[in-house]
Symmetry: C2
Subunit: 221 residues, 2 copies
């Protein structure tokens, strides 16, 4: 995903009033300027809100995230450094069957070093978010669905990470064999939506994407 | 927070069956082994679920997060690299007054490059989570409260990030002057809980901590 834009358009976007407007109105466009999207990272000093970014240095990059450290002038014009993490966009899916059961996973999560109860979740791999959601549901739990509903996006730790997940409820389900990768240690957990909700309310399910999926699924009823 | 344990205890913990049990039963203890807690990072090869970590290299560290890249054998015994991000533990607070209004913020968030509607949020600075929650509420919005309720923890992108936020509802509020730092551009937004809930349900509020706070606050009623 790479954007090519004429330079004057770019300058217009980075001028103050316009920038404000674009921040609010066209997040997608702003996203295209973020380095992780393969977008434009201008060499010239530029504004980020009331911060001035004088220089950006890539610290680390792999298939899943990128760490960039900026030399900045903070809103008080003081020199400082600001490091941020751009994560690959994500999706999460909560399948709900006709009898009100939901299908989640119990899987080992490397970064937290333990097994966790989580909705189907994965990253968007050069496709649209819905396609990624459908792919992950099929791969992880062998679930296909006739009805897909986008119930919003979540972003966590927005001061430091540029990371979002688009959330989907899947209904009218069909089940087949999962296509789990070798490195995924994953069990299917089937439970009533009300039971999942109780676990979220009790703080037993902590996975942010799953909490929001379950809470919104119940609130919609 | 630093733990000193006899070596044989450590070996016991890293042996397979025991490890499994500890993963499930004592997350706090396992957390103490994580580098970001000032814990023990053994030089010897060790297990992380079905992964074997042969070596760990710190890529980057600042006051807010740390990136570590591990040389691993994946569950299929294939050599690979696995990079994770440890973020400083966080807190988020939703103050609700006696008339059912909630107090959130509209603030510029550097990593996403735009203003965002978010509950009070911050990091735990060598204190317990409740103390951090109280401090952040006072600093950001000048809010103190007589009733504090922990409504659980959230964790996001658990495959890559070790990051959690403890969530609090604050009630019986008292208002004074905020103690915002110079670099925080922050506005108070007061709205009925039902209004906040609608914005979450519509996908207009995307901040994960805020979504879960608002959804749980409504679900508790």
């Amino acid at each position: 995903m790479s954007y090519t834009l004429p330079l004057n358009y770019l300058q217009e976007v980075f001028s103050t009033e316009k920038t404000k407007r674009y921040f609010f109105e066209t997040k997608d466009f702003f996203d295209s300027l973020k380095p992780e999207q393969g977008g434009i990272l201008p060499k010239m000093s530029r504004k980020n809100g009331s911060w001035t970014i004088k220089n950006s240095k890539k610290i680390f990059e792999n298939d899943f995230f990128k760490v960039v450290e900026d030399d900045v002038l903070d809103p008080d014009e003081k020199e400082s450094k600001y490091a941020t993490i751009d994560l690959k966009p994500g999706v999460a899916v909560l399948p709900i069957d006709d009898d009100g059961f939901v299908y989640i996973t119990r899987q080992f999560r490397y970064a937290i070093g333990r097994f966790n109860l989580e909705a189907i979740a994965g990253t968007v791999e050069g496709e649209d978010a819905l396609t990624a959601a459908k792919r992950e549901a099929k791969e992880e739990l062998g679930i296909e669905a006739d009805e897909w509903l986008n119930i919003g996006r979540i972003e966590a730790v927005t001061s430091i990470t540029n990371s979002h997940a688009d959330l989907y409820l899947a209904q009218k389900l069909k089940f087949s064999k999962p296509e789990t990768e070798g490195t995924e240690e994953l069990e299917l957990v089937k439970l009533p939506l009300a039971g999942a909700h109780e676990r979220v309310m009790q703080g037993e399910i902590t996975h942010a994407e799953t909490c929001v999926l379950v809470l919104k699924a119940v609130a919609r009823k």
